[in-house]
Assembly symmetry: D2
Homo-oligomer: 318 residues x 4
């Protein structure tokens, strides 16, 4: 990370400060190595940077294996135009309990923690600090940082310890009172790298495509019809979440991840069908999967099958 001013196309925005899980995700991006990393306060700021051209790309959390989809991210991607997901990264989510040097676990009466982190360490805290109090922080790192800054606006200087990401000790002079305090040791957060780049990354054979779509109306069975657009082309969905459109109760848009790349014929066909069906489809991007799983496709839905069918049809129409 350079302190020098850098050109925008060398800047990456992320939910900071240094030490967050988001930073750990960004550290997985080879292209970002040695570039300017811009720490921001929330998803909206990160995407604003991209839209305004202040950053090449932004790393944002999109789903947590415990907490589910990150609503703010999903809603931002649904409403800010011209964004594209260009990569996906997984970060194992675990927590440590940190305190000012010299503090022991027995000293801890009040814990500062971001509400999501608090929810994921609740069992450990209840077991080990049965009478602790909780102060909410705006981020995991803020929780830790404020231990060292009693003048912090959040008054969190009153806390004796903080729940923080393991990487925190590389950035702050804090003692680790306990490690691995997450209630679920398999917890993972999925991040996406978002840019304004319109060029779709090349197919790798292990790709994912993200879209957001609305149903045409409230008629019964519309969701079923939408899913058939995928099923008929052999396209598997790995995620489907509904989010309120926000204008009235009962109206939803669907955030969908599907297996495959827009350049896969079956995916392209499904997107065409979806586009005709839905009054509002947002293509968020096709990008390499973080899990590197290769997508199994039956012959019927392989590119060759589409090519042969089209040649057959062209022969018929003449």
């Amino acid at each position: 990370m350079s302190a020098e001013p850098t050109p925008p196309n060398d800047t990456y925005s992320y939910l900071g400060p240094a030490g967050t899980f988001t930073e750990a995700a960004l550290a997985q991006v080879p292209e970002a190595a040695g570039k300017h990393w811009r720490s921001v306060n929330n998803v909206g700021e990160a995407l604003d940077d991209v839209v305004a051209g202040r950053s090449t790309a932004a790393m944002i959390a999109i789903e947590n294996s415990i907490e589910g989809g990150v609503s703010a991210t999903q809603d931002a991607l649904a409403t800010i135009p011209d964004l594209r997901i260009v990569g996906e990264y997984l970060v194992r989510v675990n927590f440590v309990l940190v305190a000012r040097p010299g503090t022991t676990l027995a000293d801890v009466k009040v814990v500062n923690a971001h509400p999501v982190a608090y929810a994921q360490t609740h069992l450990w805290l209840d077991r080990n600090l049965p009478s602790h109090g909780h102060i909410p922080a705006t981020s995991n790192v803020a929780a830790a940082a404020s231990l060292l800054d009693p003048s912090t606006i959040s008054g969190a200087g009153m806390a004796d310890a903080a729940v923080a990401p393991p990487g925190i000790v590389g950035h702050y002079d804090l003692d680790v009172l306990a490690t691995d305090i997450g209630d679920n040791s398999n917890a993972v957060t999925r991040f996406v790298l978002v840019s304004r780049t319109v060029a779709v990354p090349e197919r790798t054979g292990s790709d994912k495509t993200s879209i957001i779509a609305e149903l045409p109306d409230d008629t019964a069975g519309r969701l079923l019809e939408m899913l058939e657009q995928f099923a008929t082309r052999g396209v598997n969905l790995s995620l489907i979440e509904s989010r309120p459109i926000g204008d009235e109760l009962g109206r939803y848009r669907f955030v969908i991840d599907l297996d495959g790349h827009i350049r896969d014929e079956r995916v392209a066909e499904a997107l065409l069908g979806l586009k005709r069906f839905s009054p509002n489809v947002i293509f968020l991007g096709s990008y390499p999967r973080a899990d590197k799983l290769s997508i199994e496709v039956t012959n019927r839905y392989a590119d060759d099958s589409f090519l042969e069918a089209r040649q057959w049809l062209d022969g018929l129409i003449g």
Copy 2:
């Protein structure tokens, strides 16, 4: 009809002899007027003429509103390659009872009739000639003609009357003992004109497309999957009939008529989907409908919707 030898491309084959319903269907074809009409004995001969280049086209019955699909026609179209349906014609099916001049209804003891015609006039005959006998004929016209030809191989000279198409009296010197003796006055037979022409007729906005397709295997739900190929693209089926493939009990192919023309985007897409799904699809043709009904298509499935979706996709892929 000329007695002169005519070039093949001026010849039309039909189930004869003169006076059949098939001839009445052929009389509806403007292009056939004044050309050579070749009378044949069955569907196989008619299609052989087309395949061998002896005829431009053949008129064959494909469905009757009472009897259902004509199996021989469906099976021939499924197994003889390179045929195309280029037109569809409807003939109202009604029957007259004819006899040699001088015969009265009271004289009639034995009736010559093609089995299908006999089945469709059974109620009238039972009511008016309760003790009649029945001799089967090979065709409706043969039934009538044989009344005048006692040496006929079928021995039908023994019959006193025949069930025949109304047009018969223009060709044979017979008296009409009764008209409108069909048990169902709405009975209609649907004919198709079949050629080797590969050029698909232009779209008229009132078109039908005929195909034959097999399921990929015996897995439960395969027929449902096949129908979804049409439903997902908004294509309505006006006919679906199963016919045994013939190699073993329980294996079927499906004869399908659908609303629209292969040049309609939604039909083309459905055919592509079907082609990928089915191990064996036969395109029999897109042709103007006999009933002139115009096909209602919701906006979502109109050509413009397909065009817009493709432009959107092309814009995404870049």
Copy 3:
């Protein structure tokens, strides 16, 4: 077969005369052994016997592996109320060429054959008797019988040979000129035994259920909806055929065979769903399969699964 008058409940009607494939099917019915077998001329007569109480049951052909569904049977079952299929039987269909004693193959100029039998021996006849003529008979046995009865009304005495079932020589004094003349050696005809019995045969684990149903209206996708009634309950269809209702072109009923017994929960549920969907459902019966195949059912659709679900629901409603 007794010449004595027998009580109706000891009489079985079949398409005769003796020697037909239908008789061979009836010979497979243990209960019919030693009872009165009543030979009739067509499906209608056979079912009339059952309806009128003249016969306990009637054996009728319902499907041929080459020719497909027997329309007359399907239409009769669709329109005559209170009939039930109580058994299913398969007869391998093969043919012999028979002639009056002393005739040789070289003598044969004209062949008497039922049209269906003629269609199924056409290749053999064309190859071995290239210039033969054809007289249509009303049944396979009639073709043979008439060789011995020159006074027969059909004039078939003029024929030199007949296409007949192999069993014919047990009933008529005829020479066999050739055996196995069927064009497809795997040809099979499926027969059903039909009665007025309302008691459904017990479940055997290898059962079939036959129904006939109409669609509620012409709306696109109705057939798909009907098939989903079966798919949702894991019920596999082994046959689906459309037959014209007969009132106008384009209106069909569907003849359906499904795997399983009405007392199987999944079949009962599917029938309930179908009954609610369709304006006209005819239950033709549940009966042991001729092929003795046992029906594989995934746990989800097994009776236990239905029972558990109902207990769960009852527990909820209280």
Copy 4:
């Protein structure tokens, strides 16, 4: 609200303290009038009260028209057994900006607000207090209350104003600096009243049923299959949300609201189908709808149709 100890069956838990939207929802429950209202800190505590028998019922937020489903509520209902939703209530969500008496808008530099409330008033605050700072509060009421209690653990005494529900001024001595500061004036939160009562409320003709279900496995098309369980019985879904099961990324349960009551035949059938399909179905309850909309049901899916079908089936089985 009585200060006296009251028997558990007269106690209602809600997210307090007094003045919250949840209290406004509880005020809509006639049975709760005059009973003990127990203020708790979060959904978990509210449901614990119900499970432990400390409360008759708990009022909890389940969905917001802007923010979407309340994950904590959905996850608690999915994992705590033996709970039932017995009522649904809507509260229009709007906000006021409050401050200690004597404060003017110009004095406001730091705003205390629950993160969700902050997100919903962000536009107003940015426009009217462009350089304000934000302190997160644990609840809407806590934000306001802490203005009057500088010793509060959260240190929020440093804030000059708070975003709070309109009802706050009935409970705290605060000035309202601005009203209607919500960015979306149609914002609504949906609450449910949850008890251990197993008796399902009576049908009203305007009912909703809530369930949670898992898919049997990851096979493509499973969600489609699940939705068909509803579609086949004419049951409309008003909500479907996925929530991570939490054991690994990519595994979801579905939170579903459907139109109708478990005593409606079509709903009961759909639940039976779902129970057979899904390895884990949780019935959360059938209860009167807050919006009082009466559910339109086509004849085919009305109770009578189910009754008739069952009578028909019973007649067949005998």
